[in-house]
Symmetry: C2
Subunit: 214 residues, 2 copies
Amino acid sequence: MDIVSFESSAAPAPGLRERTRRAVRAELTDVALTLFLRQGFDATTVDEIAAVAGISRRSMFRYFASKEAIIFDSMQDVGEQVAEVLAKRPREEDPWISLRHSFGVMITYNVDDPERTLAFWRMLDETASLKARHFEQLMRWQELLVPDIAARLGEAEEGGGYGPCAPAVVGAALACLDAANHAWLRSNGKADVVRLLDEAMRAVRPAEFSSIRP
Amino acid sequence: MDIVSFESSAAPAPGLRERTRRAVRAELTDVALTLFLRQGFDATTVDEIAAVAGISRRSMFRYFASKEAIIFDSMQDVGEQVAEVLAKRPREEDPWISLRHSFGVMITYNVDDPERTLAFWRMLDETASLKARHFEQLMRWQELLVPDIAARLGEAEEGGGYGPCAPAVVGAALACLDAANHAWLRSNGKADVVRLLDEAMRAVRPAEFSSIRP
DNA sequence: GCCCGAAGTGGCACTCAGTGTCAAGGTAGC
DNA sequence: GCTACCTTGACACTGAGTGCCACTTCGGGC
């Protein structure tokens, strides 16, 4: 399964309308991604994507709120998968280890299709507007993971928010993930992502938690 | 000094042209910020800022690469201040402690002018496009701090890049800073930022490093 | 089979950010 | 004062994103 053409497999068949909508969305994402990777994000206009996909420009914006959303909507789905894995980890497990395990979902993309994933990350890294959105995406992942970690840390939700600890721990873990990804990118996909991630997370491993060494 | 109208005080008098340019920049930043805080970022057009500042729309884009840059250029200056403080910390000090100390520069803004800082952070948090750029800004700070931390960790720069550890540690620290800022924001500026930051950084404190307790 | 309301679609016009170009005015150095 | 350069304003243009309206299509009730 591709990191960018991924569609949530949650609901099996929620009516014809919804199914066609999802199919069209997947198709549009695929068309757009191919164009983005071939000629760059900025050099590809929405008109062009719409023309190739055989749809009107106006309808394009009915499927995606923005040009950037074409890319990041599917990444949100990946984040939800990570959250699902995290929820299934044993309650008494060291939170840092749980986070490390749930990141496994992401890392598989790097291993499954290095070429395309590498080109994808490189595009995110080189395009200014995407770089910004990428970090925003990390933040959305943080929001998905914080409730679980807060519960594990025994940090109660008080007055519509958490204390600083759970977001800090999740944010730190995501920083490790990002650092590993960047190091992998700089090595042109030659380095071992898993090893890089372990290295990064070992360097930051909170003192309260037990050892991560395998 | 205000977090947003800050201008680098590095060069004393590098010619008349440069001095006027800086003065105009500061003026523009000030005008724009006032408008942003009064009526919101999206509701303020570049034409409006230019009109109020008595300058042409075209010249506006000669001072700032984008509407967002009006805000984030000054934040970059703050990041450089943080890097300066970090560089002055003793070489043998625990990197985590050094980072914590260098963050002191930022935190002072929250204490000095809570009202304006609070409104400013709230705007960053509520405006989608600014939220994205804000994280990009954190990333730029990371780039400023990584070389120093890499040296402290004994991580050599190999082939145009660092290993994953230094970025991971710096990113983790910035995640703590951000978590503390968010918690402070949620408390409407009532909570103690310094305490929140210490709490967050204690929760994530890497095991290799010694205790941060004062 | 027929009809009706809801949802999807395309086209048009508009706002606003951002960029290239060019001509006019001002400034620094000789 | 002259020249070279830098700054500025004006105009036109592209591209993202939105509001609106008319048309078609689909799903369900009769």
